[in-house]
Assembly symmetry: C2
Homo-oligomer: 169 residues x 2
DNA sequence: CTTTTTTTGGCATATAATTCCAATATCATT
DNA sequence: AATGATATTGGAATTATATGCCAAAAAAAG
């Protein structure tokens, strides 16, 4: 019987699982033998734990990271979008249109008076950006405003989600 | 001799490389045999290409994706930070302080009158957020303003960087 | 069309993943 | 502290995958 009640879908992890998550968030393609060695377990329980973390949905997938600049996408922008009406239809339509644009790396529905969505987009240059903004995004039904910020430098990116509870100051 | 001059570090890829990048950005831990099969090559040239993409720096790494909510981080926020002075020392100090906070998933230096940095942070709840904001971030030297947005829903996340040139409208 | 260069496919070998089970450790209870 | 029940581990055997090599095929250059 559990000593403490936590929401059903929030998991409790021991040190091995935390180490696994930590390492896999940095080195997603590390092999199991090396991973096992690093956490101080033999390969078979280590693999079982990784599979359990995947099956439980805690690890949702693996991604290769790609250097956008080397692919010719030298401009990254944050786009704040406001909508005229906050109806499910408006939102659903916007989201579908935006999902069809390959330049959109991320789309978040956010709070705030200034915007309803934040998009992160990558493009080749300012011309492409202008084109994307004026010919694609602002033409989506219900979009009343768009405010652009450009990413000058990526200070931190893809950092691991803490597997410990938050530090209480 | 190349027919066309492109910036030295921007690469040109054939269809196999593009397929590899596309697939690995979705399934970062796919095995080489499966990958080879999907792109229509035999395993050995496929692996050679993957290694070449890694060695060239086009693939910068691999990451496991973790469900933050399942780890107890139910609140994600975007924090726009403005600084008093735009000196290298101010920036370097801010960036170092922020890098020491495990809740910070991303930190971007951006253009715009409203903010100098955008942080993406994950916390357990609003109390933790308040604590992070008031006791940690706003206390960093030079921070004059902080503006919060909360993520209501992640519409799109971790989308692949397009490996084709931008669609010209 | 021929030569040169690059890339591929298949095979042999090395390395890693996976399964199974006995042994060990952990936990709750008395 | 001892007991029994449960969960977890480590190692060996097996299966699957990655890696290196080379001859053959393809692509590019002349």
């Amino acid at each position: 019987m559990p000593k403490d009640s936590t929401p059903a879908d929030v998991v409790t992890l021991d040190r091995y699982d935390r180490q696994i998550l930590e390492i896999l968030q940095h080195h997603g393609r590390i092999n199991n033998q090396e991973l096992a060695e690093r956490i101080g377990l033999s390969p078979s329980p280590c693999l079982r734990r990784v599979r359990a973390l995947e099956d439980s949905g805690l690890i949702t997938g693996y991604r290769a990271l790609v250097d956008a600049k080397r692919l010719g996408h030298s401009l990254t922008a944050l786009l704040h979008i406001s909508m005229d009406r906050h109806t499910p239809e408006r939102f659903a339509n916007f989201e579908a249109k935006v999902a069809a644009l390959p330049q959109v790396q991320e789309c978040l529905l956010i709070t705030g008076q200034e915007a309803d969505y934040q998009l992160k987009v990558v493009v080749h240059d300012m011309d492409d950006y202008q084109n994307l903004l004026l010919n694609q995004i602002t033409r989506i039904e219900g979009v009343t405003g768009a405010h652009s910020s450009f990413v000058l430098r990526r200070v931190l990116e893809h950092r691991p989600v803490p597997s410990h509870p938050d530090t209480p100051y």
